[in-house]
């Protein structure tokens, strides 16, 4: 089906992009493996949608598609939380640097 082809192509593109980011040291090996795992899982579920249905029944969810959405939502909220934490760290570090530069500039003037 066309949607399967599109999703597999999109996942493949993301895997290749992740690989090049790893090669350029923009991401670390742990991050690459995590994303590789996620996109491979996407490809497997797209090719064998019955796997999602099988897992859904085991977990008490009616449809495979519903299970995929629930898992995706949890993953998104988790990643968003991690992103927020990292952002706050960056904000704190910026303030530390600004304050440090300000105080050192004043010391140098004297």
């Amino acid at each position: 089906m066309p949607i399967q082809f599109i999703l597999i192509l999109a996942a493949a593109v993301m895997i290749i992009r992740s690989f090049f980011k790893l090669k350029n040291r923009e991401i670390r090996i742990g991050e690459f493996i995590t994303w590789l795992g996620i996109w491979l899982a996407v490809i497997v579920v797209v090719i064998y949608p019955d796997i999602a249905s099988f897992l859904a029944i085991k977990l008490g969810v009616t449809r495979g598609a519903d299970l995929v959405i629930y898992v995706a939502l949890v993953l998104i909220f988790y990643l968003f939380f991690r992103f927020l934490v990292r952002l706050e760290k960056i904000e704190k570090d910026i303030t530390k640097i600004v304050s440090h530069v300000t105080l050192n500039d004043e010391t140098k003037k004297k």
Binding site: I94, V101, T102
Partner: protein, 216 residues
């Protein structure tokens, strides 16, 4: 040392600094990335000026001032607003409270006097009192009053991380966490058209709540 965080207060800062300096206090203006002539005006008025290259927030500016006070071994730090709402003559009252043994002197507009306070501000502050009582257990008559005096030794015990307006709640949380000895002092807060235009929106209370939840 009187620490005065300032952002785009070129119109008022000169008057504020002169008022503070005339009473014999060292005034330190922390210019938090102003786009106007705040730094130049403050310097001309006689303040020590410390300038942030970019805007980081009132909490961050206060911490820079505290850092300077600690480096230069000041005993007391007074927090004072740059918008002319506070009266420099009342600084002495706060310092007297520290000299009598307290570690923190908190200005209270509800024990003192307010002039021209908007009703919505009154309501927001009263709600803030309830929030502070629930989160810190402190029985106060005012919250988010920037007119405070601290012993530097008490500040050393605190862990301040909030950059923006949530710093005011954080200071009270640290008083509670570190079990600091504090006393409220009646002060006068004047709300002028100018200061109301510079003040924070009441909706900022939601941003403060978010910062307190996320950054802790």
């Amino acid at each position: 040392m009187v620490i005065i965080p300032a952002l785009n207060e070129g119109r008022k800062i000169g008057e504020v600094v002169r008022e503070v300096a005339a009473l014999g206090y060292d005034a330190a203006v922390i210019d938090d990335g102003s786009k106007d002539d705040t730094a130049a005006v403050a310097k001309e008025a006689g303040a020590l000026v410390l300038s942030h290259v970019i805007n980081r927030g009132q909490g961050a500016a206060l911490r820079t001032g505290i850092g300077y006070a600690r480096r230069h071994n000041y005993e007391f730090a007074v927090f004072f607003d740059a918008d002319g709402q506070m009266s420099a003559a009342e600084i002495e009252k706060l310092i007297d409270v520290l000299k009598s043994g307290a570690q923190v002197a908190l200005g209270s507009r509800f024990l003192g006097t307010t002039e021209g306070m908007p009703r919505i501000k009154w309501l927001t502050l009263k709600l803030g009192l309830i929030f502070t009582r629930l989160t810190t257990g402190l029985k106060l008559t005012d919250v988010h009053n920037g007119f405070q005096a601290w012993r530097l030794s008490a500040l050393k015990a605190t862990n301040l991380v909030q950059d923006r307006q949530a710093y005011a709640s954080e200071l009270l949380q640290e008083i509670s966490r570190c079990r600091l000895v504090f006393q409220e002092v009646p002060v006068t807060i004047k709300y002028t058209r100018y200061s109301k235009s510079k003040g924070q929106s009441v909706f900022n209370a939601f941003n403060i709540l978010w910062d307190l939840i996320i950054k802790r």
